[in-house]
């Protein structure tokens, strides 16, 4: 039996992340070569190339990486919280709340900061509603929390459909792009990066406890884990990471569900490995998907959420089939 080699895998993941960022920076309508990138680092680059790199490609690539990493980590945390392999960052209805907020902005013809602002408020409302219902009942059982999330999602879904069906057709395309996830206008700042780094560090610190928590609340408690505190942190941590992702790029599907599972299937079940792998793989995955989304049918841009599913489904099936059924 081949031994699982964490450090080799970690190195591969790092190289893949680096390569995806390079390809993303070099792809697009304006020709940029590897030499231009080298020239850029020493400050010797033509103005057009500099502008494309600084104003368009670097921010967009960074946004894609941060969003993908945040979604993958949120997916890992949600799967532990709900102890359910089908859990993804959106399962507790957060993306629905954000979508209603964002769609309201689009309906009213507001753009830019309004869009992410209202999405942020919608997501917080959703988190608050789920938390309120789940904690009022006094039972933080996984089933109860999951059902609450599913019902709240369904409610948001109805509102989304209502807004889509009553909006002017001119704004519907923008709404659909938001719903499928789209990075064309995305930028991340220090706040998002700071939240991602802090969240990753805290998650890594708690990784051993997460390993115990997936075995059940009682097992975890009997092994000395503060179960309620940890589950509350998971709930709010995963929610915050998802909020920064959806306010950056809309509800990009598939990353948060599929990336953690692919890694689990390749052997990284231990959260001390799964957390760093998910960050790297989630970021890489979304950078690649976004590069394809803006180059496949250029100059037409595709919603990145469509690409994540189109790459994600076949590669997940391939890994599922090749995974040893021990």
């Amino acid at each position: 039996m081949s031994q699982f080699q964490p450090f080799r895998l970690l190195l591969i993941a790092l190289l893949a992340a680096f390569a995806s960022v390079l390809v993303s920076l070099l792809s697009g309508s304006v020709e940029l070569s590897f030499d231009d990138l080298i020239a850029y680092t020493v400050g010797d680059i033509p103005a057009l190339q500099r502008q494309v790199l600084e104003d368009i490609r670097l921010p967009r690539t960074l946004a894609a990486f941060v969003t993908g990493a945040a979604l993958a980590l949120a997916g890992v945390l949600m799967q532990v919280l709900l102890r359910n392999p089908l859990a993804d960052p959106y399962i507790l209805g957060l993306s629905g709340g954000a979508a209603v907020g964002a769609l309201a902005s689009i309906m009213l013809g507001l753009g830019g900061w309004w869009l992410s602002g209202t999405a942020f408020v919608g997501a917080l409302v959703s988190v608050g509603v789920v938390f309120g219902i789940a904690s009022r009942s006094g039972r933080w059982s996984t089933t109860h929390l999951l059902l609450t999330g599913v019902v709240v999602s369904a409610g948001w879904g109805a509102l989304i459909n209502l807004m889509l069906s009553t909006s002017a057709s001119a704004s519907v395309q923008g709404m659909l792009f938001w719903l499928m996830g789209d990075l064309s206008q995305s930028r991340v700042g220090l706040m998002q990066i700071g939240i991602l780094i802090t969240g990753s560090a805290l998650a890594l610190r708690a990784a051993r406890s997460l390993n115990v928590l997936v075995r059940g609340d009682l097992v975890a408690a009997s092994l000395g884990v503060h179960v309620n505190g940890l589950r509350l942190s998971l709930f709010f941590g995963a929610s915050l990471l998802t909020v920064i992702a959806v306010t950056t790029a809309g509800s990009v599907g598939f990353v948060g569900l599929v990336v953690p599972h692919m890694l689990r299937l390749t052997g990284a079940r231990d959260h001390r490995l799964l957390i760093p792998f998910s960050l790297l793989a989630g970021g890489t995955f979304l950078v690649v998907a976004d590069t394809l989304a803006r180059t496949l049918l250029a100059p037409q841009q595709l919603p990145v959420g469509v690409i994540t599913a189109l790459i994600g489904v076949p590669s997940f099936i391939a890994i599922l089939r090749s995974a040893p059924s021990r």
Binding site: N211, G224, R272, S325
Partner: protein
């Protein structure tokens, strides 16, 4: 000397039902306690209370003379190990990874495993006869293998107080005897057999096991808590508590006993 575990005047309820009231115990190191009673009598609830996972309606539990309520889960887990009846494997890991989780209360390094913990986990798997399964996924195991793994995780924890909820569940008869010897060795402190850490070997660990198997308890335990229902309990030496009339009352059916080759066996009539 301070007893390892003291329960003082416990009142436990489930909904409107009283499981036990006024229950007091003194568990010393090296003792082996059996917890008997019908289904739903409250054996598991009592075990969870003694492990600090459940707060009693009234009364206190002291661990080494300190109230459980004032100890953190981590402090309790360094001393008390609990074998649960059910296991969850929604996101399965391997057998070795699972056994290593038993070291959680003792591990200081948040990221890396040390060689000693690995050795202890391997040793626990070997004691339970499942070392060859070390790299297998937990969800591919049979019920009996899972039970052995749960016991291995408990032994890897090296608790001084072992709380066992139906330890013989899913285990075939052939393995029940070695298991009993293994558990007895924890209590007797026999350094040959015991994998409890060396400083507690001299004293031996205490074992409290909930079981529906009266004969197992009769064979293994020196003290018995018999939960009769309606909050009534009988606590005492096994020979005093394990009598036909007490058991008949607790299990609601006539029970007879036979002596055979130095062993006492109980059977329902």
């Amino acid at each position: 000397m301070t007893p390892l575990l003291t329960a003082d005047n416990l009142l436990l309820c489930a909904g409107t039902r009283t499981l036990c009231s006024g229950l007091s115990l003194r568990v010393e190191q090296g003792q082996r306690w059996g917890l008997l009673g019908k289904n739903g009598a409250g054996k598991t609830s009592l075990l969870h209370t003694l492990a600090g996972l459940r707060t009693p309606r009234e009364g206190t539990v002291l661990l080494d003379g300190t109230p459980l309520a004032t100890l953190s889960p981590a402090q309790i887990a360094e001393v008390v190990g609990l074998l649960l009846q059910e296991s969850v494997d929604a996101l399965p890991s391997t057998v070795l990874e699972t056994a290593l989780l038993g070291r959680h209360p003792h591990t200081k390094n948040r990221l890396f495993d040390n060689a000693e913990d690995l050795a202890i986990a391997h040793e626990a798997l070997r004691k339970l006869g499942i070392e060859s399964l070390a790299q297998r996924a937990v969800n591919s195991l049979s019920g009996g293998e899972r039970q052995r793994l749960a016991l291995a995780m408990l032994l890897a924890q090296r608790p001084r107080l072992l709380l066992l909820d139906e330890p013989s569940n899913h285990l075939d008869l052939g393995f029940q005897t070695p298991l009993i010897h293994l558990l007895l060795s924890q209590a007797s402190g026999n350094p040959e057999e015991s994998i409890i850490s060396s400083d507690s070997v001299s004293q031996g660990a205490a074992v409290i096991m909930a079981t529906h198997d009266i004969n197992l308890a009769a064979r293994v335990c020196d003290n018995i808590v018999l939960m009769i229902g309606d909050g009534e309990t009988l606590v005492g030496k096994a020979v005093d508590v394990l009598k036909e009339e007490n058991l008949a009352k607790a299990y609601d059916c006539p029970i007879a006993r036979v002596e055979h080759e130095g062993r006492t066996l109980f059977y329902p009539l």
